[in-house]
Symmetry: C2
């Protein structure tokens, strides 16, 4: 009688929000970037993907369920992840005949986010990081997070940074095969644990241009982009690593804001132009500037990914000034927990306040957090059925 | 008894809208630009400044009235214009003793626009061009428009291009004293008379950053700007002159759109960032793209100055497709004369249509036009009083 064991492993994985942005591929097949990048991993208490990877003879083919819906796994990127991880498992099995032959079994993967995918919150990064980590756990692979980050990178570039907690760099690498294009740790969350992130979710009619095709349009048509990847980003990488290592928030903030500006400038210089930021986004920029002006120093930094949402980084010690300054604009918005902080009236001008009141649909208050966590919470039951939740 | 003659001369001057943008000064005192630029002069039937320059012993001091309000003339720029023009007149008087001694007389200048200044329609360019031309007429200076453009340039950089009609280049020049930084004619209006401009005036709460200080912030802080002035603009200048000389609208349009994008990208890359375009502006970009997609070729080009207004250039032969495409979005807007053109439904999608319906407050339909015109219409009466109008 055939072995009908359902082998299972689960992990959670975090979202990360870059402070030096990834934008542009030098090799679209291998997902090799035109430049290095740095991100902050956000706490999984607020934003995480939970993924269970399972395999068994009872499954008839590979499958992937995301938030209750069947997901297409025929894409080259998902296939690349599966293929690479299976090859690593097969190598282990070849060396040790006592290991169960998992590499040959169909995979059943079930994944869920604790936040709405539609919010445009880098869900693909958390998703592919969780996918790779869950399969690595299932296969009991000995690979380090950096090694695993290479597989996640092939699924979704920025996913490689979600294999670590804290402050994470994706080194672009030089090799043609991409073997040196991987994530490494700049500093763990414990090095600078007071970093907070206030996420202003802005209503967007729809996402105009996917980041994957958008970045290749920028590479192909922006006259300013080469300057960004040759000069601006390498300088920002050095400045940012120094800022993180030295707990220098003012430098961290300035580089974060300048790099976001440079990235969106290159989008606007793309032909035809790509616009991710809208009037709400720009109002958030003005709000952060007003909060910093009021404080007399830089205590908050804005950054925008490929969408209108604003992520504001600040340190816990400045929460009174930052959250208090935003309070008039955000107090009625879902998710804004003002807590013990008093509203500081009049920091943000009336026009900006009313644009934010109208355009911000939801707020997420979080902070720097840890990398993927192995968990005994399973989305696939021991008999191979998807858990009812 | 003293001569109480009131010497008078009047001129009109046009607005110009650049297709390769001026942004950045290499010498703020002399208004010397970081790069050359090209503009289209717009018809004075729709947009013009009328200026009367007068001088007489009966005036007690220099004065300037703009649209019925006293204007401060103590600024270095206005003073530079007055000083330079007086010096030219004084030189003539020195050579020919029979000439009346006008250079020593107080100037009374009265100026009126036929369009609202607040609309953000390059009124300073028309204003300074008219000021210089009116005084040059009063002083009967023999200088060519290019010579006069140097004086206008010191008043407001882009004003130098309004000394000519048609298609006009401002050559940045190389000399430290600015004597080779002047406007010249690429082609007269008659060379390519079918060029039309549809101006979408967008409501803006207020202009955030003046162009004069904004451009210097860009020069000082944008990491991408040097690439624009060293590489992008020189290439665009060559392409644009070729396009104009060869009546190549598709090339004209692509360079116009790319250069506007590059300029606003550098604004967004400024630290802190400068945003002139708003959601209405970006909807106009999408509308132009949709009209071109529908036509299967580039028949319309957007460009934006230091404000949210969109100027759409197109050829008269394509008015059915361009105005017809815009008709659903603009038919209720003041100034949109659809004329014999039938609305072409569904070219612009619903979201873009509703943003334009809400955000465009006024439309101006015009086209390429002539340079300053001497006129016998005076804003100062023969007795020196300001005309009642």
């Amino acid at each position: 009688m055939a072995d009908t064991t359902v082998y299972r492993a689960s992990t959670t994985a975090p979202v990360n929000i870059a402070v030096v942005k990834y934008w542009g591929k030098r090799d679209a097949k291998l997902n090799l970037p035109t430049n290095s990048s740095i991100s902050v991993t956000l706490s999984q208490a607020d934003l995480r993907t939970l993924t269970t990877a399972s395999c068994s003879t009872i499954f008839t083919s590979d499958s992937l369920t995301l938030n209750g819906e069947d997901s297409d796994i025929s894409g080259a990127r998902t296939q690349a992840c599966f293929r690479e991880l299976r090859a690593r498992r097969a190598a282990l099995e070849e060396k040790d005949a006592s290991l169960p032959k998992l590499a040959a079994l169909p995979l059943k993967i079930v994944s869920e986010n604790n936040f709405p995918t539609a919010a445009g919150l880098a869900s693909s990064a958390a998703g592919f990081a969780a996918l790779v980590q869950a399969i690595a756990n299932l296969y009991q692979l000995p690979d380090s997070p950096s090694e695993l980050s290479k597989f996640a990178r092939q699924g979704s570039g920025s996913a490689c940074r979600s294999l670590f907690g804290g402050y994470v760099a994706w080194r672009m690498g030089e090799k043609e095969d991409g073997s040196d294009s991987l994530a490494d740790l700049v500093a763990p969350a414990s090095h600078w644990p007071s970093m907070r992130a206030l996420i202003l979710v802005a209503s967007a009619a729809k996402k105009g241009v996917s980041s994957s095709s958008g970045m290749q349009q920028t590479v192909a048509s922006s006259g300013l982009f080469q300057e960004r990847i040759k000069t601006i980003v390498p300088a920002n990488m050095d400045l940012m690593e120094d800022a993180i290592k030295n707990h220098d928030f003012e430098k961290f903030a300035e580089v974060t804001m300048r790099d976001s500006n440079s990235f969106h400038a290159c989008c606007a210089d793309t032909y035809p132009p790509i616009y991710y930021m809208n009037d709400t986004s720009r109002a958030a920029v003005r709000a952060v500037e007003a909060i910093n002006a009021k404080a007399g120093k830089t205590i908050a930094a804005y950054t925008f990914d490929a969408g209108p949402n604003c992520v504001v980084y600040y340190l816990d010690e400045n929460k009174d000034a930052v959250l208090g300054g935003f309070a008039d604009a955000l107090k009625a918005v879902s998710g804004f927990e003002q807590g013990a902080v008093a509203a500081v009236a009049g920091v943000i001008d009336e026009t900006v306040t009313s644009i934010l009141q109208e355009g911000v649909t939801r707020v997420i208050m979080t902070g720097v957090g840890e990398g993927p966590q192995k968990t005994e919470e399973f989305l696939v039951d021991a008999d191979g059925t998807t858990s009812k939740r």
